[in-house]
């Protein structure tokens, strides 16, 4: 819990308004002839920073830290109000910075745009931003050789504006933005491809390291876990001045795209358009050894020779026959249970290892730790949930696969990051038999059960009203499970005239949901009305 003006300005639009606008008007009445506009800034930063907003007009717009007595009064009043509120009755709003904010060469890409964008977000009343920190950028050249300059520069920019920051430590690569794994890791991978996930046909997924090598000394005599740990520790010490003041949270990458799953879809297919359910990724040497050992010890050595032979391929419909067949598929046989239990337990253990690594590394700094779990909603309506199964989540009509996952989050006191809050069932193609809404409900109820807080994210930035309405519904209708929402992501489209107005309306809607009724198409109102005794003033933690 922070107690500061930042805390208040972080809360929501209304609060920003409190601080910013009251100062405006006060200053307007002052006799200052230069018409400076003062916005209070994070006084907890203890700095008297001032800067001039680049302005084409002759008169600059001067923002300056304000430490007047009046302002202090505001601060303490706010602080006491915040400290009385419970953490769960409001949603903080963050916006993700561009994936490639920090370039491969450790500089800030389009820094001016980001600077302007951050100011706009600040004025809009957004609480903070999310910054991806790439393994492939910060530890690019050699093991143990860290370069944080680019990331530090971003953090300073964010701090100067009094925004909050969530760090995503990314131990994966991003194909989209051409951010690879560290060079030295890729080099190792060239000689030892068993560090990658491998599918039945022997194709490797090089977007992250296989969970099977977590504890094997494959990286120049170090295990990946040790390397991750060193990375985290170095990050912690390099960013120590910002911890708990600007950096409020950190998520640790758990797998492909940072999510706790297997890369069951090797070839990136456009979202929601694939028919297949993905393939099991248990075919690298280490996985197979592990499976064989497991089969031997469980008394079924023949089950340990490989993955299910009747599992469908990437582009085959999963429920048409074989392993995932709706009725009488192998998944419901003892063999199926044996394999799926093992496959999913490997993922669970990996998640547990990384979350406890992060929790222990950062236990002495006041930031929340989180991990991301995927929202694999396609084929959710099939009995076997084949997409989830290949991704390593043993969730079927007969079994709740998320319960055990959230248990490990709870055990490590970690928050969970859930994407896809913008997805609605209606928008899914019927043939994919997807149900993001039901899946989300299942996961969040598990979260409630285990007392795990949820940070939401959207999966796409379409800017259409439906997506925003869905997000709003999820944020305001989940009894406070979601306490932070990170909108992904800032970029050209985000600030485009097609998108920004809807986003602005969304922010307003979060602030005043009553009023948004007028904007909603008929039929979407129940989510808002169903809220009993809602405290719609969003609060900070």
């Amino acid at each position: 819990m922070e107690i500061s003006v930042i805390g208040s300005s972080q809360v929501n639009l209304g609060r920003v308004n409190d601080v910013g606008f009251s100062n405006f008007s006060r200053n307007l009445n002052s006799k200052n002839p230069t018409a400076k506009n003062i916005i209070s800034k994070g006084s907890n930063l203890g700095q008297n920073q001032s800067f001039v907003w680049p302005s084409k007009s002759a008169v600059g717009f001067i923002v300056r830290a304000c430490a007047s007595a009046q302002n202090q009064a505001v601060v303490s009043e706010k602080a006491s109000r915040i400290s009385r509120t419970k953490p769960n009755d409001g949603v903080k709003l963050y916006v993700g910075l561009p994936i490639d904010t920090v370039s491969n060469s450790n500089t800030i890409n389009h820094a001016r745009a980001i600077a302007a964008g951050l100011k706009a977000l600040k004025l809009l009343g957004v609480d903070g931003v999310e910054l991806p920190v790439w393994w492939g950028v910060a530890e690019k050249d050699a093991h143990g050789k860290y370069d944080w300059t680019g990331h530090l520069a971003v953090v300073e920019m964010v701090q100067k504006l009094g925004l909050k920051l969530h760090i995503s430590l990314c131990f994966h690569a991003s194909e989209e933005s051409k951010i690879p794994l560290p060079q030295w890791v890729s080099q190792i991978g060239e000689s030892d491809s068993s560090i990658y996930f491998t599918d039945r046909s022997g194709e490797q997924y090089k977007g992250c390291l296989s969970l099977a090598v977590d504890d094997l000394p494959v990286l120049d005599g170090k295990t990946p876990l040790e390397v991750y740990k060193e990375f985290c520790e170095n990050f912690k010490s390099s960013f120590a001045p910002f911890m708990g003041s600007t950096i409020m949270g950190l998520s640790i990458g758990l797998g492909p795209d940072g999510e706790l799953r297997y890369p069951s879809h090797h070839h990136p297919v456009k979202r929601n358009t694939h028919l297949g359910a993905g393939e099991f990724q248990c075919y690298n040497k280490n996985m197979l050894n592990n499976l064989k050992h497991h089969a031997d010890t469980s008394g079924n050595p023949l089950w340990g020779l490989g993955g299910p032979h009747d599992a469908p391929g990437y582009d085959q419909s999963p429920i048409s026959g074989g392993f995932f067949n709706e009725n009488g598929g192998s998944w419901e046989t003892p063999y199926g249970d044996f394999f799926l239990s093992w496959y999913s337990s490997q993922l669970l253990k990996h998640g547990d290892r990384l979350l406890s690594l992060a929790a222990s590394t950062f236990e002495d700094v006041p930031i929340t730790i989180s991990g991301k779990i995927p929202l694999i909603h396609s084929w959710y309506k099939a009995r076997s949930h084949p997409s989830e199964l290949t991704a390593g989540i043993y969730n079927t009509v007969n079994r709740d696969g998320y319960d055990s996952i959230l248990e490990i989050f709870a055990k490590n006191s970690c928050k969970v990051i859930l994407p896809g809050l913008d997805l609605s069932d209606e928008d899914q193609p019927t043939e994919s038999r997807a149900s993001p809404e039901f899946l989300l409900a299942q996961i969040t109820s598990s979260c409630r059960k285990h007392g795990v807080e949820v940070s939401g994210q959207n999966s796409s930035i379409s800017g259409d009203l439906r997506g925003f309405e869905q997000i709003k519904k999820n944020l305001l209708g989940e009894n406070g499970v979601v306490d932070l929402f990170t909108y992904q992501r800032m970029g050209a489209y985000f600030f485009s005239p097609e998108h920004l107005p809807s986003f602005t309306r969304f922010v307003r809607g979060l602030n005043q949901p009553d009023q948004s009724l007028d904007d909603l198409p008929v039929g979407n109102q129940e989510s808002v009305e169903a809220l009993p005794d809602k405290n719609l003033q969003m609060q900070t933690t």
Binding site: L28, S57, A492
Partner: protein, 903 residues
């Protein structure tokens, strides 16, 4: 007693400091212009008001009520609004030419300007024996102190301020020794603050010192030409004190004895208009009287003249306008059952008006706009003024503006003139801003109404949301331009994949090389079309693919830019048949032909009943509804202009459907009848680019380009390195046309000027290492040029640095964009070099979307690699390409430029 209610006691003014007004993104004009000089209130109105006074006093019951109000009420709302509107100020430019100190040999030219501001005289002279009309520097003994020479042909002299009876007045005196060899003095006035030029009939003012020059129609101090000049500036108030003008003409210029005829003095005045921003204020206070259950709202303003409050009330949190129950204040009328209109009472001091409104308790808010006259409305930064009533009546209030409803309402009550105009202007200036700002405005106003008792400063909110808007737009443009996924690049990639290139009217084939096929003198022979016809094969062999012909229509000015009858294509360049033959000939040699179409303005043929030239003739016999309303010269009855005004002729109102229909048909007719392939669009600053899109969509040109020419930004007399604002305006225009037309890359020309004149080649790389002109942002729509008939030729308004033209051509002919070569340069000593540059461009398939990699941008040298096929350098400094993967061989070398080809 009623007067007491209005007294200052209750009118609690919070003295707000003005918030700095952010001019965002582009020069977005204030939504409403005051376009007429304010008329002083007539005595009749005064009388009405005095009756109102008496009535209030006489009716004792109301009087008593008011008294009670006084005693028990409290101020629940008080705010001072700043009213800002653009206002045209009329002033005079005076030109006096007289004999100084009674000395026959010493004459004086005195130029005065009666408009406020800092004025500069930009002037030059012609010497006896000069051929053509190019300016020269005046002799030293003529230069007043404080003059700054501008290159080698002009002088800039600041006006001296004189105060004449409190009126701002400034003047300049130039002494002319009669022994000097000056034949004429040419000048224009420049507003140092806005950078605007003030010319005489679209051209320079010209004061002849010898007779033979007096037949030019821009000559001042003579009577000739005026009668044939409908609608020009000079027509309005010319007081000619020099009755005798040229009597003996035709003498040989070369002979000095010309001067034997004595000079004669004269004095004349020209009306000029300048747009200034006028500030007024409006204060509103609300008192709540509990005993009477009334709210008393008091409005006071320092606006002069009649002020009508167009108002309604909100009965609930929606911002619907409703009419309250009677009684209404005196001088109130009901407007279409939607709103009430109340004329405010003139204050006795005559410095404004005021009025009070007594309303029942329980109403949510009082909403209003001010109406000054039929065309002039004032609102609160684009929204209605919204005055909430005491919150004690309704403890918790959301001001829930169902946005669309407010808008509808607004459009219904305000005259259509305004609502359409406002939206168009916004779109024209920045399609971006308004969408966002409305959203954000609602957002902010929602918040603020919630907190309205704490924070009332609307200006503060306004500046915040403007700041958001500005920042978002900035972020958007940078992200967009730096991301490989920008639409332009997408198009590029798509098109690159297609074997036959898609022809778009904004780009042609992408490989076009343009020739401007005329100069400012081309009309003089009367047979330009025939002369050009003979050059067709030459132009084709030089490599040109497109030619831009001069404006073909009947025109008041010989050059064609003051069109009159659009369907009459007999011009000083030749008749319609000669034009058709020329076009046919050009097509035969493989050159596409662009017609120069002037769509912004058109000269009238007849006067209206007030004697103003605004009735058109010919086949398109439009009346004053086709003329924009905001240029008082021409008393247009159309809507306000969707762009800037060109003041020398009636500006066409493109928002009128009948006008657009006629223009569409005319363009199609030109396409079919003459065979034009596309257009060069004159003065497109004057109207919204969206209309251009419509015209392009219907006339389907092969290629089209617009002339969007405005000033670059200078600081302390030096051009700023960053000209993003300038190119943004051009970019926005292209965007408004939906990319259906390219635009002249004025930015690149301007930057080349500074680069070459000052030897500052670093200017050729912007902050992101891209070309700094429009070419760096939207190369496929940039028509690059270094000179045209206005900037160069015999006008020389903005001449390219002399002697450095080939560096300019080496730059634009090697870079992306569609390069345009000026006629005067083609048929000059530069022809062989230009020809070589064109053939290098062609054989390396450099096109409008080629990529530029700037490898050096230093003080004295600029070098770039284009498409990995060409390396070029300009500037005196050293640069040699390094042979790596490519071997570079020198293709051409000239004065301070070199181009290498990859081999």
């Amino acid at each position: 007693m009623a007067t007491v209610t209005m007294g200052p006691l209750f009118h609690h003014r919070t003295s707000l400091k003005p918030i700095p007004k952010f001019q965002l993104i582009s020069t977005k004009p204030p939504p409403f212009h005051l376009n007429c000089t304010l008329t002083p209130s007539s005595p009749f109105n005064g009388a009405i008001f005095s009756r109102y006074f008496k009535a209030s006093k006489a009716v004792s019951s109301t009087g008593a009520a008011v008294v009670e109000t006084l005693e028990s009420s409290n101020v629940t709302f008080s705010e001072n609004f700043k009213l800002e509107r653009a206002q045209k100020v009329e002033g005079k430019i005076t030109v006096r030419f007289d004999c100084g100190k009674n000395d026959e040999n010493c004459w004086r030219l005195t130029v005065g300007c009666g408009l406020p501001g800092k004025w500069i005289l930009h002037w030059g002279v012609n010497y006896i024996g000069d051929v053509g009309s190019e300016w020269d520097q005046p002799p030293l003994d003529m230069r007043p102190s404080g003059s700054i020479p501008i290159k080698d042909y002009a002088l800039e002299t600041p006006f001296q301020r004189k105060s004449a009876g409190g009126e701002a007045f400034s003047e300049i005196m130039i002494e002319i020794k009669s022994k000097s060899s000056v034949a004429a003095i040419n000048f224009v006035l420049k507003d140092a603050e806005s950078g605007n030029w003030y010319q005489h009939r679209g051209r320079d003012f010209k004061v002849p010192l010898i007779d033979s020059l007096q037949d030019d129609d821009n000559v001042v101090g003579t009577i000739n030409g005026l009668s044939t000049w409908p609608g020009a500036v000079g027509q309005l108030s010319n007081k000619l004190l020099k009755p005798e003008a040229a009597e003996s003409k035709g003498e040989d210029i070369g002979k000095l004895n010309l001067r034997s005829r004595p000079l004669q003095g004269f004095y004349e005045e020209h009306s000029v208009f300048k747009e200034i921003v006028a500030f007024n204020s409006l204060s509103v206070s609300v008192r709540h009287c509990q005993e009477k259950a009334k709210n008393v709202l008091y409005i006071e303003t320092d606006l002069l003249g009649d002020v009508v409050v167009h108002w309604g009330v909100c009965k609930d949190e929606s911002r619907n306008w409703e009419i309250p129950a009677e009684p209404y204040p005196p001088e109130t009328t009901v407007f279409r059952n939607k709103a009430l209109r109340t004329l405010l009472q003139q204050k006795t001091e005559g410095d404004g008006s005021c009025g009070s409104f007594t309303l029942d308790e329980g109403l949510f808010a009082f909403v209003f706009v001010l109406k000054l006259n039929e065309n002039t409305w004032l609102n609160c930064k684009g929204n209605d003024f919204y005055i909430p009533f005491s919150t004690s009546v309704v403890p918790h209030r959301h001001s829930g503006p169902t946005h669309s409803e407010v808008k509808e309402e607004h459009e219904e009550f305000s005259s259509p003139v305004i609502s359409t105009d406002a939206s168009k202007t916004n779109q024209a200036d920045s399609a971006y801003t308004d969408e966002i700002i409305n959203e954000i405005r609602n957002l902010v106003s929602d918040i603020s109404s919630e907190k309205s008792r704490k924070t009332k400063s609307k200006e503060a909110q306004e500046s915040i949301l403007q700041e958001i808007e500005k920042l978002a737009a900035e972020a958007y443009s940078i992200f967009r331009s730096s991301q490989p996924t920008s639409p332009e690049t997408d198009v590029l990639e798509e098109e690159a994949l297609q074997a036959p290139l898609k022809i778009s009217s904004g780009t042609g084939s992408g490989f076009e090389i343009l020739c401007q096929g005329f100069n400012w003198e081309s009309h003089k022979s009367g047979k330009w079309y025939m002369e050009l016809q003979e050059k067709a094969s030459k132009l084709s062999s030089l490599g040109f693919t497109v030619i831009w012909l001069p404006p073909p229509t009947d025109s008041v000015s010989p050059e064609g830019y003051m069109p009159r009858d659009l369907y009459n294509l007999n011009s000083r360049y030749g008749n319609i048949d000669q034009l058709k033959v020329l076009v046919k000939r050009l097509h035969e040699v493989g050159i596409m032909v662009l017609g120069d179409v002037v769509l912004n303005h058109r000269c009238a043929q007849y006067k209206n009943q007030n004697g103003v030239w605004n009735i058109f003739g010919g086949r398109l016999n439009w009346d004053d509804r086709a003329v924009v309303a905001d240029d008082p010269h021409f008393q247009g009855k159309g809507n306000k202009s969707s762009g800037d005004n060109f003041h020398a002729a009636p500006n066409i109102d493109h928002s009128q459907e009948f006008v657009r229909k006629d223009i569409r048909e005319w363009l199609l007719w030109l396409r079919e009848e003459i065979g034009y392939d596309g257009w060069r669009l004159d003065f497109v600053r004057g109207f919204w680019g969206g209309y251009v899109k419509e015209y392009m969509d219907s006339s389907e040109p092969y290629f089209a380009m617009g002339e969007y020419w405005d000033s670059l930004s200078y600081r302390y007399g030096e051009m700023e390195h960053n000209q993003d604002a300038h190119r943004q305006r051009i970019f926005d225009w292209i965007n408004a046309t939906n990319g259906t037309a390219g635009a002249f890359d004025v930015t690149t020309k301007g930057i080349l000027h500074s680069t070459l004149e000052r030897c500052e080649y670093w200017r050729l790389s912007d902050e992101k290492g891209k070309p700094p002109g429009v070419m760096g942002w939207w190369p496929s729509r940039a028509v690059t040029f270094i000179e045209n008939h206005d900037t160069g030729s015999t006008q020389g308004h903005w001449r390219f640095p002399s002697g450095k033209e080939m560096q300019g051509y080496a730059y634009i002919l090697s870079h992306p964009g569609t390069p345009s070569v000026f006629y005067d340069h083609i048929f000059s000593g530069y022809q062989s070099e230009i020809s070589a540059l064109i053939s290098i461009r062609k054989r390396n398939k450099i096109q409008c979307r080629s990529t530029v990699r700037i490898v050096k941008a230093e003080r004295d040298v600029y070098a770039a690699i284009i498409d990995d096929k060409l390396t070029m350098k300009i500037g005196p400094g050293q640069y040699e390409p390094s042979n790596g993967p490519q071997n570079w061989s020198l293709a051409i070398e000239g004065r301070d430029y070199k181009i290498w080809e990859a081999s």
